[in-house]
């Protein structure tokens, strides 16, 4: 028995511990936002957030998740009430076929949670693992930039010193 906490809800699933998280989300929890693209961690269509970090769910064993919370695109908003980031994707018409978008949104959400007000350069670097075969990267980036800029300024200001340190460390790594 594997227990997963997805979008705040606990699920006990009778599945193989070596099952990738993506399959459990799609086939057992009917959360079909995350997509199967390559199955090799090369495209990012399956990206979800585990414990604040964006991961490829196609390569994440369910047995590795443990008590760490999983967030998928379904946890952000609804068609009636999209999250600010989802709304930005709609406003910028960032989707063409849409297959990569759930993964794009989740990777971007992880960045905006950690670094509200992230700059375009930071966004471009952070989004590098996720691919869009239609080629709407420019609109995707502009949607994330818009969402980042729209985040409460106060929050960004408060976090600024700590965040500057974080980005410096990352540059050195």
């Amino acid at each position: 028995m594997v227990t997963l906490t997805v979008n705040g809800v606990k699920h006990d699933l009778d599945i193989d511990p070596s099952m990738p998280l993506l399959y459990a989300l799609r086939n057992h929890l009917q959360l079909n936002g995350a997509k199967y693209g390559c199955g090799l961690g090369q495209c990012g269509a399956c990206t979800v957030i585990i414990d604040g970090k964006p991961v490829f769910s196609c390569l994440t064993p369910v047995s590795s998740v443990g008590s760490r919370p999983v967030r998928t695109v379904e946890g952000l908003g609804t068609p009636q009430q999209p999250s600010p980031l989802q709304q930005a994707f709609i406003d910028k018409q960032a989707a063409q076929c849409g297959y990569c978008i759930a993964g794009m949104i989740m990777r971007a959400q992880a960045l905006l949670d950690e670094r509200p007000g992230a700059t375009e350069a930071e966004i471009r670097e952070h989004m590098q693992p996720n691919l869009c075969r239609c080629g709407t990267h420019m609109r995707i980036v502009s949607a994330i930039v818009a969402a980042s800029q729209a985040l409460p300024k106060r929050q960004a200001d408060n976090d600024a010193p700590a965040l500057a340190g974080a980005s410096r460390q990352e540059n050195q790594a």
């Binding site: 511990p17 961690g41 994440t60 590795s64 540059n171």
Partner: protein
Amino acid sequence: MSSKKKIAWTAAAVVIAGAIAACTYAWQPAIAPLAQAPAASDDRALLAMGARLAELGDCMHCHTGKSGKPYAGGAPLATPFGTIYATNITPDVETGIGGWTLEAFARALRKGVSRDGHLLYPAFPYPHFTRMSDEDIAALYAYLMARTPVHAPAVPNELVFPLNFRPLVAGWNLLFLDEGPLPPPAQQQSDAWLRGRYLAEGPGHCASCHTPMNALGAEKRGEPYAGGLIDGWDVPPLNALNQARKPWTVDQLSAYLRTGVASEHSAASGPMRPVAHHLGNAPESDVRAIATYLLSLSPAAPAQPAAPASAPAADTQILKPGKALFDASCAGCHAAAAPMRTLGERPALELGSTLNTDSPRNAIQMVLNGNPWAGSSAAHYMPPFGSVLTDRQIVDVLAYARAAYAQRPAWNDLPAAVAAIRKENSK
């Protein structure tokens, strides 16, 4: 005079003589700067020769900062003594080497002295570049002077006291800098070997990473090519290339150095990845020459490694969690029947040194960081698992891979190593 006193006097004399010599070395004259950078040469053969040497020496990798302009400096080099930042070697007069004459450039390469006379730190591998010929130094100079000048002031180094006092390097040079060209070889050698030795010992500076360092950061004289530690990665020894699971050959080593993948070994990763990237731009004959020379460094030994060390009694119960993780995270590419394995001559997991060496360090780094994209070839790419797997899970998956694939005895202290390396990486 008692013998004790004699020894004391002799020691004092040696120290004083050393100090005087060091002071003499520490004082190097400035070479007058040029008012403006020399016009870019229009000698295409000379520029091509310079470009070839720049690739063989991998100059760009250290002299280009993250998302910085080519050759404009800024990349940090972490040393046991602090962080040193590579400088701007574009022909910008104010912040680069635009004001340097060929004479000043040659002195820097051969003696480790900057144009204005200050001593460079040996993180810049002048103990190797000192081997370079006049023609090659002139070609490299012409090539660099034909780059786009970039205004980029040097990033201040972060070195511990007293090493931030540059004249101390004079003492280091007295001890460790062996100036001038390589001596003739002890026995007759092929042209490829001679060329390979020149490239590896000179511009290629392989030993800078592949030889262990002494307490003063110099290559240990008695242990050439015995391996080292750079940027948190174990550097494999180059004097035991015939000890690999499949002994290296010139073809395999050339392929590895030029493409970053050897079908009977593994993909270049960590700090070796950019080296292979740049060697891919060098002529094949040069890289084959380097491979020829490097292979000659391994003492003739019976090819023993084909049979792995005594197969461990794989306790399937202990390895079970690791197997479940491996099946989901790794098998998609590394399992024997995976398309990623069967297409394009990609090496089997058990052939690389990563799972076979006594230290788990590089295996842990691979799992934590993966191997970043380089161009569009998926052959080198591996996604990072640092955010996917916990320390305990990395221990489990590596214990399984070591037993099931390399079939070697379990690594000692794997949990401590995973925790320590993750902590190092976060600094």
